[in-house]
């Protein structure tokens, strides 16, 4: 266990280096010159000589790896530059907006789990009966549904027509309902399917037959015997859907004007606020990697039989 954790942590460091390097390299591809930007933002047109001198001072003529190293040291101290739009450090801006995104993602995740577990279990138990067919139909519906279209439809029906909610979301309990539902619909579909498959697999195991033969009531079998075993593939799915959630929030937040980081980054792209975009990308990647590391460790912790390659297989199937 300790050895495995150490190995994974080492891998995490390699990945984080790669992630930061890649983000840094993408930033290098921007068409703008930071030295020039500096003067333009002060409202003056620098001469070529002055520009060259400033480049030298800012270290823009150093080899790319040196620049990366310098940038990384700053980034590790939490200094990701200053957002040009908000004229505030990127970190401050991120810290202000991140809680809203996490709140939205968290509520969506709770919705997904609360809805898809009962549906998936019901669907597996009533295999090929009316309930199962209906649930499969709707989960398929959900998977194929673009979440931004869902969001627009929800908005049209519940905000424009029925006027139950405001069109522009307020950052409170009432405002979170529509964005969270829009975000969770497609995930509910895929979770329900995954839970159904996992349950069906477990239900065909001999230990279930054994438990039934001993006269254990069916609900107890389902919740105390099958559920703990069937939960593993779902946990992997949760790790992976963090990425889907964080990407999805960018779209959903813009539609509902939810003041999270997704909305922030779309605005940042519009005004070419490069430091802010960079900060956003790094943060998202780090969150995603760390969550997936935790999922892997959770596996190891709970069930040492499961080796890493099995987890990877589930990933590939996705």
């Amino acid at each position: 266990m300790a050895k495995y954790t150490a190995k994974r942590l080492f891998q995490l460091i390699v990945v984080l280096f790669g992630v930061t390097f890649l983000t840094f390299m993408i930033t290098q591809m921007t068409p703008s010159d930071p030295a020039e930007m500096k003067y333009v933002s002060m409202g003056m047109m620098p001469s070529p000589e002055l520009l060259e001198q400033t480049r030298q001072e800012m270290g823009l003529n150093d080899p790319i790896l040196v620049q990366y190293g310098r940038w990384l040291i700053h980034a590790l101290r939490g200094d990701l530059g200053v957002s040009s739009k908000f004229s505030e450090p990127v970190l401050t801006q991120m810290m202000k907006k991140l809680p809203y995104t996490l709140e939205l993602a968290g509520v969506a995740m709770i919705l997904v789990i609360a809805v898809s577990f009962p549906l998936g279990i019901l669907s597996a138990v009533k295999k090929n009966r009316v309930a199962d067919i209906l649930i499969r139909f709707f989960s398929f519906f959900g998977i194929s549904m673009p979440n931004f279209w869902m969001a627009l439809l929800l908005m049209y029906v519940f905000a424009v027509r029925l006027k139950w909610f405001r069109v522009v979301s307020t950052n409170d309990l009432r405002g979170i309902v529509l964005p969270a539902v829009a975000l969770s619909i497609s995930m509910i579909g895929s979770y329900t399917r995954q839970i159904r498959t996992a349950f069906l697999e477990e239900l065909s195991q001999p230990y279930v037959t054994g438990a039934r033969a001993r006269g254990i009531p069916e609900p107890v079998i389902l919740l105390c015997h099958v559920l703990p075993n069937a939960i593993f593939p779902v946990v992997t799915l949760i790790g992976l859907s963090v990425g889907q959630l964080l990407g999805g929030t960018a779209i959903i937040e813009t539609i509902f004007s939810w003041q999270g980081i997704g909305n922030m980054v779309v605005e940042a792209i519009r005004v070419r606020d490069y430091p802010l975009i960079q900060g956003y990308v790094i943060w998202m990647a780090v969150i995603y990697v760390v969550v997936n590391l935790l999922v892997d460790l959770f596996y190891q912790f709970c069930d040492p039989k499961i080796r890493l390659n099995q987890i990877n297989q589930i990933r590939i199937k996705r």
């Binding site: 993408i26 279209w149 424009v160 069109v167 779209i251 779309v266 960079q278």
Partner: protein, 303 residues
């Protein structure tokens, strides 16, 4: 004594007959199920083909020019003249949906082609040769997989600037890793199969082994994954284009039409309803095709 023996013989024969009949019944049931699966798969394939042909030739059936503006006819609700209504500058929504299909599909197919070829090739090489090459390639995929695809696309587009090609490149840059992972995993198993080892002993050259022994064995999985990915890619592309990151107005594209429709949600919901419906139906048909292909090509996964 004799009669007894006869009787037990008869019994045995009877048992055998019953057993044989049961077996036949089972196998005919299996046959039926297989046939049903094949028919279902063929139906979905036809549907998907239908959608693709609408995408490529649909513009011929468009009643109006999708770019022609007509300010006397703006924001008209669906009617006989404009079955899907008109948008904010009086363009016919039906024509735009029909013509937008081609743009959406071209991009998805372009991306799929890039991703599948590169991903599978890297995966096979990595899995077959193993060693340091494998380690390096897999670490690269690890790093790329650390970016959720939308986030990576946002990074690229945010830095280089919005544009269709940028978006396609950005998505492809992350997406190939999925195919590389799968192809690598399967190749690593196939490499140690008897037929590959015998081919090696028989003097088949390495490219021959990769193309004629390894590739055909992983192809079914690749095809299933590709079919399942059409929907996902369409959603990703449409999502980014909805954010205005992949747009090149005024050319019609489904995601961007939704973006335009969003501003007129209160007065002209039909703009977003029909564009969204087009995306939804396309994604659904390709998901159905992918699922049924998996049933047919890879039955063990679904049982």
């Amino acid at each position: 004594m004799k009669s007894n023996k006869d009787k037990s013989d008869e019994d045995k024969d009877g048992m055998k007959r019953v057993g044989r009949e049961a077996k036949e019944r089972m196998s005919s049931q299996m046959e039926n199920r297989k046939k049903r699966k094949n028919i279902r798969c063929a139906c979905f394939a036809l549907l998907a083909l239908g959608i693709v042909s609408v995408a490529f030739w649909g513009y011929r059936f468009a009643p109006y020019d999708p770019l022609e503006t007509n300010f006397t006819q703006k924001l008209m609700p669906p009617s006989m003249a404009h079955p899907f209504g008109t948008d904010n500058v009086g363009r016919d929504v039906l024509s735009r949906v029909l013509c937008g299909a081609g743009n959406s599909f071209k991009l998805v197919f372009l991306m799929l082609a890039i991703v599948v070829v590169i991903g599978t090739a890297v995966g096979i090489i990595s899995g077959y040769f193993g060693g340091i090459l494998d380690t390096v390639l897999m670490r690269i995929t690890d790093i790329l997989l650390a970016f959720p695809d939308t986030i990576f696309a946002i990074a690229i587009v945010g830095m280089i600037g919005p544009g269709l090609l940028h978006t396609v490149v950005a998505l492809a840059f992350v997406w190939w890793t999925k195919y590389a992972r799968m192809a690598r995993g399967m190749t690593a198993v196939i490499r140690n199969q008897d037929y590959v080892i015998q081919a090696q002993f028989g003097g088949v050259r390495t490219p021959g082994i990769l193309l004629r022994y390894v590739l055909p064995n992983i192809l079914p999985q690749v095809i299933v994954m590709t079919a399942l990915d059409v929907g996902g890619m369409m959603l990703s592309l449409a999502g980014l284009s909805f954010l205005g990151l992949a747009s090149q107005p005024p050319a019609p594209e489904w995601g961007y039409m939704l973006y335009e429709g969003k501003s007129y949600l209160q007065t002209a919901p039909w703009i977003m309803i029909f564009a969204g419906l087009a995306i939804f139906l396309t994604v659904m048909v390709f998901n159905l095709l992918g699922d049924s292909l998996r049933d047919v090509l890879d039955p063990k996964e679904w049982e």
